[in-house]
């Protein structure tokens, strides 16, 4: 076993500060060795630097969401270690360091938008006097300040996800974990939100781990893309995208963009086929969710 696991690494080999370090993480559902046992993640290691935007890209069921949940402390791994800012994470969330954005809008429908922000800040133990100013600032940043008194159900899906993102940002954590946040949106909305996100990254220098199965999204947003295999999920390779944030839509028109996209597709094609075949087989199929 790597000696760094015990010493909680804070820097990578090149000496750059680390935000997240994933070491030899495996996740297994069901009893090991039994017929129902499913290995979702198999010995995954990955270091993520401060201010980096890393995508986890892979076929459905490859365990990328599971990996994100392990990093965020929502799920404890069967084996291996995760450290965030040098602190070990084992199934206990670190709400001061890490905020989540999920695929479904997790704005509580029984509260107005503003009340939703207040609750999030309250859960974070942030002083009551700061609630409204921070909430309105965050809403203003995504152009939704006029909707503070609306209920989430009164907004469109795209607006809701925009607000959802703003809520996770306003709690002020350094790390943002995003689990397919744009998956339920239409192509055009997701491009706009993707641009917003890139601008945000450039402005705030947050570390973002982003799960997606969209190739274009991965290329457009990431500094590095961790391409994962079909179940059991492993990191197959890491693709780097050298383009400064904020990225403009023109980036998508460059030949480099389509080259990277094609490279990713070539890497993933067989994995996707395997995943689809596994889904057809009822014995091993279906995403195992936490």
């Amino acid at each position: 076993m790597d000696s760094k696991v015990q010493s909680f690494p804070t820097h990578d080999i090149a000496g750059r500060p680390l935000a997240i370090s994933i070491r030899n993480v495996s996740q297994c559902y069901g009893q090991a060795g039994s017929a129902q046992a499913v290995v979702a993640l198999d010995n995954v290691s990955l270091d993520i630097g401060r201010g980096e935007f890393v995508c986890l890209l892979g076929p459905s069921g490859c365990g990328k969401s599971t990996l994100l949940n392990i990093v965020g402390g929502l799920v404890a791994p069967s084996a291996g270690d995760v450290t965030v800012d040098g602190r070990s994470v084992r199934g206990e969330p670190l709400p001061r360091q890490v905020a989540f954005v999920f695929q479904e809008s997790t704005l509580f429908p029984w509260y107005t938008i503003l009340e939703n922000f207040r609750i999030a800040l309250k859960f974070q133990d942030i002083a009551r006097s700061e609630w409204d100013s921070r909430a309105l600032a965050a809403l203003d940043a995504v152009g939704m300040a006029g909707f503070a008194r609306h209920y989430p159900t009164q907004l469109s899906v795209g607006m809701r996800q925009r607000v959802n993102m703003a809520r996770s940002i306003c709690v002020g954590t350094d790390i943002l974990l995003m689990d397919e946040p744009f998956a339920a949106l239409d192509e055009q909305t997701r491009m706009v939100l993707g641009e917003d996100l890139s601008i945000l990254l450039a402005k705030t220098g947050k570390t973002i781990v982003f799960v997606t199965h969209s190739l274009a999204e991965a290329v457009f947003l990431s500094d590095r893309i961790a391409v994962m295999t079909a179940r059991p999920g492993r990191i197959k390779t890491i693709v780097e995208v050298n383009e400064a944030h904020p990225r403009s839509p023109d980036f998508m028109l460059e030949p480099r963009f389509s080259d990277l996209r094609n490279e990713l597709y070539a890497l993933l094609r067989n994995e996707i086929r395997q995943a689809v075949a596994a889904q057809r087989d009822p014995e091993t199929g279906g995403e195992v969710s936490s």
Partner: protein
Amino acid sequence: MVMTASTWETRNSRLSYAARVRWARCLIIVAALVALEIYGRLFADPAFFQPPSKIVHAWLFTVLSDARITSALGMAVFEIAFAYALAVVFGAVIGLAIGATALSRRAFFPLILLLYAIPQVSFIPLFVLMFGLGAASKIAFGFSHGVFPVIVAVVGGMKNVPALYMRGARSMGVSKLGIFRHVVFPNIAPGFFVGLRLAMTMTLLGVILAELYVSTAGIGYFTRMFAENYNPAPLFALIGSLAAIALAFNGCVRIAERRLSPMRRSAQLS
């Protein structure tokens, strides 16, 4: 927060989850019987409570061996069956009539819902006054309880046919009768069976209310007599017999539902 079935399964794999649920249920019943037996034998005032063993004894040697009581129970069974049959037939007919057009639905459905919400129990004396002390008043009261869930289920099913299906059927040039047969009717079915189940519960309530109200004959006479004589064992045995009858009727409705339902989407209905 909520523990999922799968985590329980992995914790203890010697017994399957379903088996452990069944065992736990049996254990609760046995434990309750033992507790009642101990309580009844050692602590309870025999004028108010008797242990299960004495109740079984009373069931065998008082309830079942008294022809007057068994015939009262048989009468109750007949009343429930008859009232239920009437409720289903009339409920379906009235429901179809009300649900037939949008206008009739808007006019009469609110009235039906209002009637359904009235505590019918206040009408018992009226029913007994009109239909006498015999079976007729009990059947009528059971019917008036059971008919509303059927009407509501039928009208509800006809009201909530998804517009998409109607548009699809019309686009294929299906006739009005065809739309009823192939689109509206299948849409009534699942809700109708839920209505049938509810109607059984309500019919049972109506008949038993009327039986207990009339204390000069039938079951009401015996429950009053046993209670007034502080003779709880046969009282509990008689109530238990009625509960068993009620469970049997509910069971019949469930079996009928399983047999007849054209598309049993058990996951949605149960």
